[in-house]
Amino acid sequence: MEIVMAFVIGFLFMAATYLMLSRSLLRIIIGTGLLSHGAHLLILTMGGLGGEAPPVLADGVEASQFADPLPQALILTAIVISFGVTAFILVLAYRAYQSLETDNTTLMKGSDDDAQ
């Protein structure tokens, strides 16, 4: 399963990179969103997916059966941070659009010597 997940994560990263390299602000933001989803899954996969029970103390569950709690804690932090960051750049883009009336990063720069 981990190997399959590795390829899924790679695919997520690829799509995220491709979107982030575009000139449209919304695509860039969606790209960062995909990137953070990929990163969360990557951390989870790195810790191993073989846990048989949630890492919560309960009767009849041995410590060895728990899923690894550390990646989960890291991801929980990451989720909330990425929410904050996504919201921030979303509003940044929204405000930029309001002021400059474009969502094209090349036009925002004010010159067109960039061939892309």
Binding site: M1, E2, V4, A6, V8, I9, G10, L12, M14, A15, T17, Y18, L19, L21, S22, R23, S24, L26, R27, I30, G33, L34, G38, L44, T45, G47, L49, G50, G51, A53, P54, P55, V56, L57, A63, F66, A67, D68, P69, L70, Q72, A73, L76, T77, I79, V80, G84, V85, A87, F88, L90, V91, A93, Y94, Y97, D103, T105, T106, D114, Q116
Partner: protein
């Protein structure tokens, strides 16, 4: 410990200055500031008697012990003399500035904070026994000098001068740091005293010459010697109290101090003697020559300061020769270092008073242009008298202290020819000739300064203001200094006992072991010696030069401004060159920067995997693949594809939502209930946010342009994806150590009293992460709030929409 506190007292006092400036409006802030240097001056005078007997004082404060970094304050004759100069002249300058700077017009708190900062830094320079802290204080003086020169920062010339002085002195300071590091490596100690103790061994070392040259770079740039003199004339844009204090009496003498302090280490080197003496003499003659070209009063004084510093430098170089002469204590070489210190004191008195007079002239007439001035003698009699005393002392006329040290200087230069080593017997004959020529120019510019300002015809129409005598408060400081000029002439040997001899002992420990061995006696009359005839010649030729100045001053216009042009060219080339270089890769396009980032990510990660052997794959210990896993993967991949290819914005937002929810489902099936809950709620709120922003956008922008397929973009994307896949597989295949999770699992109930390990990690084991995380979240929230609520209006005015609802 008292000594360390004394060094830092001005900086500590500086913290209260802005407060006092804001609170106490009725009283000039300078009166409070005056207390600091004055009390420090009195504090240091208590040491004079003991130091004159050859005693020294040390106190140490350990700063970073693991780096052997500590403040060591060391008081001997040399550092005490400088400390007294810094605090003494400092008190007079602060007193003067109270009347010079208007309390209602000037930013006094800035001025005095910088000035106090400088005072601490300068005391630190002259008292530090630790080379690294010496360097720190050294750079602090450069920085405070920069701030003070640029005090009137609205003027172009001020900023230019500030930058120039900073560039040159910091450049030299960095080289000096290199020299210090070499020295401390050679001697395995940071203490200057310990380095001096091992001077003979250091001289054998292969890096010795390098250290010598690097340290001299620091000294020469700071004291504006040789080609580095160019910063000082431009630094004259500073307020006059600053010029009088930093750029004549104290900071520029830091280089002199450094040379004096390191003389015991380097005196054995031929190169040292040549460099110090020749650079000093060159500066002396070059700048005294150019002083006559200047029409700005402060310009004249700036060039004069540089050339006088050159004189002191040359004397220190000659003083080093005594290291090589047997029985030097009996020969004339004993004069050189003595004369250097003596002239240092004299220069501080007469040049300080002259600067203050220039400030008064500027203040009362509104100009410093010598062409517009003239005939002020009858209007400003007191200023005239002080200026006359200062100028005549600078010119080396009897009855003033400058005469005494000038005579000693001529004696020392004459004796160089007798020095048999290092081919000084052949070239040496040049030295007295150069010294004589320089003295002629010195005499000439001193007279030029005072006669063209105060004598001649009064030109009231040329002056911006109606001239009158300065208020008495402003005159106190120059009068005190001028009085010292005369007093020192009559009691030079008392000054010698208390100040000069202890300092000479610190410079030439190889010559004397006790102050009583220094048997130099200063006297005004030596009989009809060569020196006397030279002096008379100086008066005659110099007087003639001033009288005929109008006839030949225009020759100066044909002399190119060599060193200044070099500096300008260097700054220009580096400016445009760096600009061009950074434009090569700073295209201003987001995509380019992202490309750099992604490409370096791929190269670095793959490179690391490659060198660390991260490519060993293992398929063991993997979880089984279940049917619903595959279904979920299919959903996730299709969501990604939707977001990737769609043109409709709404659809792409929904695509992202699909991905988010399926990630939440992954968390469910991989036994992470906390994550699943959080992800579900977050995803809901995120989609709501996206739609909210989307809702506010105009309708015509709801479609994206079609994304053209681009090969470089695609290649980079695939490379990033492949890299991440490799990392994930490598991480799965190799477990280098047991996870710390085992510890968490075992102790979660016994130590942390909880059951949900994830939550306990968040709030307890790794609480720091969470603390900073909510801080980041709060900052993001406030940032968003600010972005939306604070608008900069069309006219650049802030339209605050911050009413609380």
């Amino acid at each position: 410990m008292n000594l360390i506190v004394a060094i830092f007292l001005p900086i500590l006092a500086a913290f209260f200055i802005p407060l006092l400036y804001k609170r106490v409006k009725s009283l000039h802030t300078g009166w409070f500031v005056l207390l600091v240097p004055l009390s420090l001056f009195l504090f240091y005078t208590t040491f004079v008697k003991q130091v004159a007997n050859g005693e020294t004082f040390t106190s140490t404060f350990h700063w970073v012990e693991s780096l052997q970094l500590s403040f060591i304050s060391y008081i001997d004759g040399l550092s005490l003399l400088f400390s007294l100069l810094i605090t003494g002249i400092g008190s007079l300058v602060v007193l003067y500035s109270i009347f010079y700077l208007d309390k209602s017009k000037e930013q006094l708190h800035n001025f005095y904070v910088y000035l106090l900062l400088f005072m601490s830094a300068m005391l630190g320079v002259v008292q530090s026994d630790h080379v690294i802290t010496l360097y720190l204080f050294w750079e602090l003086t450069s920085i405070s000098s920069f701030l003070l020169i640029a005090y009137w920062f609205n003027r172009d010339a001020s900023r230019f001068g500030a930058l120039k002085s900073m560039m040159i002195t910091v450049f030299g300071g960095l080289l000096m740091l290199g020299g210090f590091v070499l020295l401390s490596m050679m001697g395995d100690t940071y203490s200057i005293r310990e380095l001096i103790a091992q001077a003979p061994q250091l001289a054998e070392h292969e890096y010795f010459t390098w250290a010598l040259i690097l340290v001299l770079f620091g000294a020469f740039t700071k004291s504006a010697q040789g080609p580095f003199y160019i910063w000082l004339p431009d630094a004259m844009e500073a307020p006059t109290p600053v010029s009088a204090y930093l750029h004549s009496a104290t900071m520029v003498k830091a280089g002199i101090y450094l040379v004096a302090r390191f003389t015991p280490i380097f005196a054995s080197s031929e190169l040292w003697i040549w460099l110090v003496t020749a650079t000093g003499l060159f500066t002396l003659v070059w700048c005294s020559f150019f002083a006559l070209k200047q029409t700005d009063l402060k310009g004249i004084l700036a060039f004069s300061t540089v050339s006088q510093l050159g004189l002191i430098m040359a004397l220190l170089g000659a003083g080093s020769m005594s290291y090589h002469v047997d029985g030097a204590a009996e020969t004339v070489f004993k004069y050189a270092a003595f004369a250097a210190i003596f002239h240092l004191i004299n220069h501080a008195t007469f040049k300080g008073s002259l600067f203050m007079i220039v400030g008064i002239v500027d203040h009362e007439t509104g100009t410093r242009d010598i062409k517009k001035l003239g005939g002020l003698m009858s209007i400003m009699p007191i200023s005239f008298t002080v200026a006359m005393i200062g100028s005549l002392s600078m010119a080396g006329v009897p009855l003033f202290n400058g005469f005494l040290s000038k005579e000693m200087f001529l004696t020392a230069m004459l004796s160089i020819t007798e020095f048999g080593l290092f081919s000084f017997d052949t070239f040496g004959v040049l030295f007295p000739i150069i010294a004589w020529i320089a003295s002629v120019f010195t005499f000439a510019y001193s007279l030029y300064f005072v006669t063209h300002t105060f004598m001649g015809t009064y030109k009231p129409d040329a002056l911006p203001k109606k001239a009158h005598e300065a208020p008495i408060g402003m005159l106190i400081s120059p009068i005190v200094l001028a009085a010292l000029v005369i007093v020192i002439f009559f009691i030079p040997n008392i000054v010698a006992t208390y100040f000069i001899k202890p300092a000479v002992l610190a410079i030439q420990p190889f010559l004397y072991s006790d102050v009583s061995q220094i048997d130099v006696h200063i006297s005004a009359w030596h009989g009809f010696t060569t020196e006397l005839w030279m002096t008379l010649g100086i008066f005659v030729v110099g007087g003639l030069a001033v009288m005929t100045l109008k006839k030949w001053q225009h020759f100066y216009n044909r002399v190119p401004a060599g060193f200044n042009m070099l500096y300008d060219a260097a700054i220009n080339v580096s400016d445009t060159g760096m600009n061009r270089l950074s434009r090569l890769y700073m295209t201003g396009s987001n995509q380019t920067y992202l490309l750099y980032m992604f490409a370096s990510f791929v190269v670095l990660v793959i490179g690391t995997l490659f060198t660390q052997g991260g490519f060993t794959m293992s398929w063991a210990h993997t979880a089984p693949i279940r049917f619903y896993d595959l279904v979920l993967i299919a959903v996730l991949v299709s969501g990604t594809l939707i977001a990737l290819v769609t043109k409709s914005r709404l659809t792409s937002i929904i695509g992202l939502g699909v991905v988010g929810y399926s990630v939440a489902m992954f968390f469910v099936i991989f036994n992470a209930p906390d994550l699943a809950l959080t992800q579900l709620v977050i995803e809901t709120i995120s989609v709501a946010l996206f739609l909210l922003c989307f809702y506010h956008l105009p309708k015509n922008s709801r479609k994206e342009n079609r994304m053209r397929f681009q090969v470089p973009r695609f290649i980079i994307s695939v490379a990033v994806g492949a890299t991440v896949t490799l990392v994930a597989i490598a991480a799965q295949s190799q477990k280098m150590m047991t996870s710390i999770s085992e510890y968490y699992k075992e102790t979660v109930y016994s130590l942390a009293g909880g059951g949900n390990i994830v939550n306990v990690i968040l709030v307890d084991y790794r609480g720091f992460d969470t603390l900073f995380e909510i801080a980041v979240l709060a900052i993001a929230g406030l940032g968003i709030f600010a972005m939306i609520k604070l608008r900069i209006g069309d006219k650049g005015k802030e339209k605050k929409q911050l009413e609380n609802k």
